[in-house]
């Protein structure tokens, strides 16, 4: 009986939180028009959320591409198909690893930072202070960060994929002797713009939306104490990871299901 009570209470808590998060999202979206009027707010956040994530995305993309090149070569060479290494590396990155790994890294770097920043602003009464100055913190603080995350994510995923493809080429052509021309021409011939690249971009747009929403909501909803902010930051990374991987499965099934 105790178990069912616990289950019921947990379910109710989860749905209540989902409801709060939905209202929060509506207010974020309604605040976006005021961000467009003041682009300086957005530019500042694009720098801290997007530009400062460049390094981690570039380095990770390079190594993931290099590993793909290495593993792909070992497998493809068994069938004498090492010339198609470029297609394998590019398709893996553009369709899956680019959006997914970039989003996971984004959640870890930018998402956690957003949650901690908003949570600490709440704990130090900065958000209340803005309210009392008749300045809407959703419009001035939350919406610019949301828009910056939403716009940065597809660009970061594209960067991740591009650097990864170069990493694959460095290993495949540079170290393992795959023909450089074949690497690029096979990729161009077999990668579909609509089916592969656009679908990958759609995925990264969805991940950017969800990750930014989760990060900002967790910060705004955090208990305003050191422990509360710490827990909220952890929840951001965990919930973002679950959402990204779960949504990736759904989106993949919808996009590539009939192939």
């Amino acid at each position: 009986m105790e178990f069912f009570r616990y289950l019921g209470a947990s379910t109710r808590t989860s749905f209540t939180k989902l409801g709060r998060a939905s209202f929060f999202l509506i207010s974020i979206l309604s605040g976006i028009s005021s961000v467009i009027v003041r682009p300086r707010l957005l530019l500042k956040q694009l720098h801290s959320v997007g530009v400062l994530s460049f390094l981690i995305i570039t380095i990770s993309g390079l190594f993931v591409g290099m590993v793909l090149g290495l593993q792909g070569f070992y497998i493809l060479s068994r069938f004498g198909a090492e010339e198609t290494l470029g297609v394998m590396v590019a398709a893996s990155l553009v369709r899956e690893l680019g959006p997914v790994v970039a989003a996971l890294l984004f959640a870890g770097r930018a998402g956690s930072a957003l949650t901690a920043e908003i949570g600490l602003m709440k704990a130090t009464e900065q958000l209340s202070g803005m309210e009392m100055m008749a300045i809407d913190p959703i419009k001035r603080i939350i919406s610019p960060r949301f828009l910056a995350g939403f716009l940065s994510m597809p660009l970061l995923a594209a960067l991740f994929s591009a650097v990864g493809i170069i990493g694959g080429q460095m290993v495949g052509s540079g170290l393992l002797g795959v023909d450089d021309g074949a690497y690029w021409s096979q990729m161009r011939a077999n990668l579909d713009f609509q089916g592969d690249i656009i679908n990958g971009v759609i995925k990264s747009v969805v991940f950017g939306f969800v990750t930014s929403w989760i990060a900002l909501f967790e910060g705004y909803d955090a208990i305003p104490t050191a422990e509360g902010v710490s827990r909220a930051t952890t929840r951001t990374v965990v919930n973002s990871a679950f959402s990204i991987l779960g949504l990736d499965f759904i989106l993949t099934a919808l996009m590539f299901g009939d192939n």
């Binding site: 209470a9 009464e125 309210e131 009392m132």
Partner: protein, 296 residues
Amino acid sequence: MDNLILTQDSLVSVHNLTFSRGEKKIFDDISLEFERGKITAIMGPSGTGKTTLLKIIGGQLYPEKGSVTINGRDVHHLKREDLYILRKRMGMLFQSGALLTDMNVFDNVAYPVREHTNLPESMIRSLVLMKLEAVGLRGARDLMPNELSGGMARRVALARAIALDPMMIMYDEPFTGQDPISMGALVLLIKSLNTTLGLTSIIVSHDVHETAAIADYIYVLAGGKVVGQGTPQEIQESSSEWVQQFMNGAADGPVHFHYPAKEYMDDLLHSEKAFKPLFTRQRPLSDRKAKRKRYS
């Protein structure tokens, strides 16, 4: 209604306010009046909901029952836009200062002016420097909030609170944690701002002497009720046990030193967790149930 002083010239009126947090009743049908141009202090022991009262007056929290009117307008029945228009004429000094940490002192003070007016930058500069001069921190305009002492941060926050020339200011524990020099500076500053700008000031504090020195009228809150009210002189001479305990800083009295608990000996002898080992293979069932309850 018996503890309500009826004045014709109240800027803020709190009528029959009731507010609870969970099971705990923070305010139980209290009424207060804040006269225009005067300094009114709300005093009482920690945890009596003094800060909560300021948040209710500012429209950040909603009462269960009762109303708060500012300048004749019911705060909790205003539309969001109207509430924001009203808040432009209210300043609030938070206990922590609540300065925006990514801006320097100058930009913090300029922030509400830039947000709410279309003044040219040269005029904003003059305005901000005047406000900073009033709090003695014109020379600190380029410092970041993390480079300020607690007292300086509060003075900057005060400059920001008066940036739009409000009709009233609410001070949340302005003297807490201040050294004697900063405290003296803040006391003088609050008094002089009130006099020179003709502000209506509401000070929430438990620093008896500093607050009594500048307040025109004092309310003492305890246990969700107004337990005393009057001029500082009347409060000092009050026969109320509650007021006397608070003003004289007695450790025990109507406000108990001990938080409610079961009998001490009973607690010591029958505690199920008293001898619980640090590491157990399995937690006792009661402990697991308690955890589930906490999460539910």
